[in-house]
């Protein structure tokens, strides 16, 4: 058995496999299907300071090897999370991480401050890359100044591991990554979804209620891999790679590209046990290649 443990800016993980926000609920939804404690980290559904109803139905469209969604951050708000959901998840023995969103830097900071008070939440992931909301979200994540302003505000209010999730819908993702690193991010995760559209030719209508949505699934993997490779070479902080990972081979490719850990998203919808299969498969790869630990392959792709 290879050593699968990784350390992401102080966050100790038993293996490098995490679930991507919005694809695994609060973990509880999957508790009957997979042993949650075998997963390195669970990033729960995007949480905002105030409750949000999200966008109207329809919110998804399947695409070739992927899907579009425009959920729009439906959640019951940070206070509800702290009071009702946190007690249900605080004793799950893995890293339970909250994904935080907001409309303004102050929103993000206030929400992060509430989560900061929860003992068993060792990290947050800042979502500055949601393509499905009118205000906030990707509006911050697509400019260096916007991204840095949110990270600075949250850094003042939040004292544990701060991961910032980056948008791929930009010209230079490395510039954004550098900006959030300089503003105080402990790690970056990428990629969030790619903006896309689906059209129903027979009805001559756009399928999604707000017209556009975020593309995820295996279809986005090559784009994600390229961006992770670029960012890992640009920044000093650890990089968490995601985007279309559904097999251990996919995960290893992201590690080789420079990711210190990976997240699995849409594949959870297809196979609820995919996370533990990928963790096992990473171990098999390491053994097969005579590697003692995950860290040996991080960024180890030939130049």
């Amino acid at each position: 058995m290879a050593d699968l443990r990784v350390n992401i800016a102080g966050l100790q993980m038993k293996n490098p496999v995490m679930t991507a926000s919005g694809t695994f609920g609060y973990g509880l939804e999957y508790a009957d299907l997979v042993n949650l404690e075998d997963i390195g980290g669970i990033i729960v559904k995007g949480t905002t300071l105030h409750p949000r109803q999200g966008n109207p139905y329809p919110r998804m469209a399947e695409t070739a090897m992927g899907m579009l969604n425009c959920v729009g951050l439906q959640n019951k708000g940070a206070a509800y999370f702290c009071e009702h959901i946190y007690p249900q998840i605080k004793d799950i023995r893995t890293n339970m991480i909250v994904n935080v969103s907001g409309n303004t830097p102050e929103d993000y900071a206030d929400c992060a401050a509430l989560i900061d008070g929860l003992d068993n939440i060792p990290a947050i992931e800042l979502n500055i890359s949601c393509p499905n909301v009118k205000h906030g979200g990707m509006a911050f994540g697509t400019s260096c100044e916007g991204a840095a302003s949110v990270v600075r505000a949250v850094r003042r209010a939040y004292h544990k591991t701060l991961i910032v999730k980056l948008s791929p819908n930009v010209t230079s993702v490395s510039d954004i990554a550098l900006a959030v690193q300089d503003a105080g991010a402990d790690a970056v995760s990428l990629i969030n979804t790619l903006m896309g559209m689906a059209i129903d030719a027979e009805r001559r209508k756009r399928v999604l209620s707000i017209g556009t949505g975020g593309l995820s699934g295996p279809a986005v993997k090559p784009v994600a891999l390229r961006m992770v490779y670029e960012v890992a070479r640009a920044v000093q902080v650890p990089v968490i790679g995601l985007g279309g990972i559904s097999t251990a081979t996919d995960a290893v490719e992201f590690l080789l590209a420079g990711a210190s850990a990976i997240q699995i998203g849409t594949a959870n919808f297809v196979d609820p046990t995919v996370t533990v299969k990928v963790a096992q498969g990473i171990n098999d790869y390491l053994e097969r290649h005579g590697c003692a630990s995950v860290s040996e392959i991080v960024g180890a792709v030939d130049q």
Binding site: E29, Y30, Y57, F269, P272
Partner: protein
């Protein structure tokens, strides 16, 4: 699971029967659904939510009535006996079962929406109830397995072309003007369910509908299949439904 039978019922419909590779089937409520994995299908990615059509306690088989509507269901229809079928089940909240055998229950189905009503009929029969079925389709050829339904209750049909039963939509059937029911449970295309819900509301009859909103996970995680409800706002059809009482919904009826 392993497919024990694949039966092409019609050009667009296939009946799949499957049995767990190990152990027994879990207990299932009528109206619940399963998520079927579509393998080797590069044009799709997600599972397909399919109603539980019937369950045989004797043989330990569950059956699915699949309408071929696109790439995913086309792949499912192309499976053969003996093939593996990766299934998550049972999911969601099913139909309300009667409290007593005396309750008069009307089960209304349209198109492939007739599927969950067979297992509902079987469960009701096991409780000593005899439901009435009102099944609608475009043509007589689209009305499948009627002999199965008639084991459990009286079957009335409508077809849009008049080739079987009364011509027209289920809401135009003479049964609705001649008989009263304690509850109507409906599964079918949304316009049909809305029309039945209107009839139920106008006649002060309890009514529940089975929604088929597009979903990804089926587990309440992706939040894609939401329906707007009067009390709780957006709720996941896969978890809080697919069956809802019409009073819970914000339909204009």
């Amino acid at each position: 699971m392993t497919l024990t039978e694949v039966c092409q019922l019609h050009q667009r419909y296939v009946l799949l029967k499957a049995r767990p590779q190990q152990g027994d089937l879990p207990a299932m409520q009528p109206g619940q659904f399963a998520q079927l994995l579509v393998e080797n299908s590069p044009a799709t990615y997600l599972r397909r939510p399919i109603s539980i059509h019937d369950v045989s306690a004797d043989t330990g088989e569950v059956s699915f009535l699949v309408q071929v509507v696109g790439e995913g269901t086309r792949h499912l229809a192309a499976l053969s006996q003996g093939d593996r079928l990766n299934v998550l089940l049972p999911l969601g909240r099913g139909f309300t079962l009667p409290q007593s055998p005396a309750e008069r229950i009307l089960l209304v189905g349209g198109g492939v929406g007739v599927a969950p009503l067979l297992y509902m009929g079987r469960c009701m029969a096991a409780m000593g109830c005899r439901p009435t079925f009102l099944l609608g389709a475009r043509t007589g050829a689209d009305l499948l397995r009627l002999d199965q339904y008639s084991q459990f209750g009286e079957v009335y049909v409508t077809t849009e072309d008049g080739s079987m039963g009364e011509k027209g939509f289920v809401t135009q059937h003479s049964l609705l003007s001649s008989q009263r029911f304690d509850r109507i449970s409906v599964c079918g295309p949304k316009p049909m369910m809305v029309a039945v819900a209107r009839y139920a509301k106008a006649s002060a009859t309890d009514c529940e509908v089975s929604l088929e909103n597009m979903m990804a996970c089926g587990l309440g995680a992706c939040l894609c299949c939401v329906e707007d409800t009067a009390q709780q706002g957006h709720v996941c059809v896969c978890q809080e439904g697919p069956v809802f009482n019409i009073n819970e919904l914000k339909w204009q009826i």
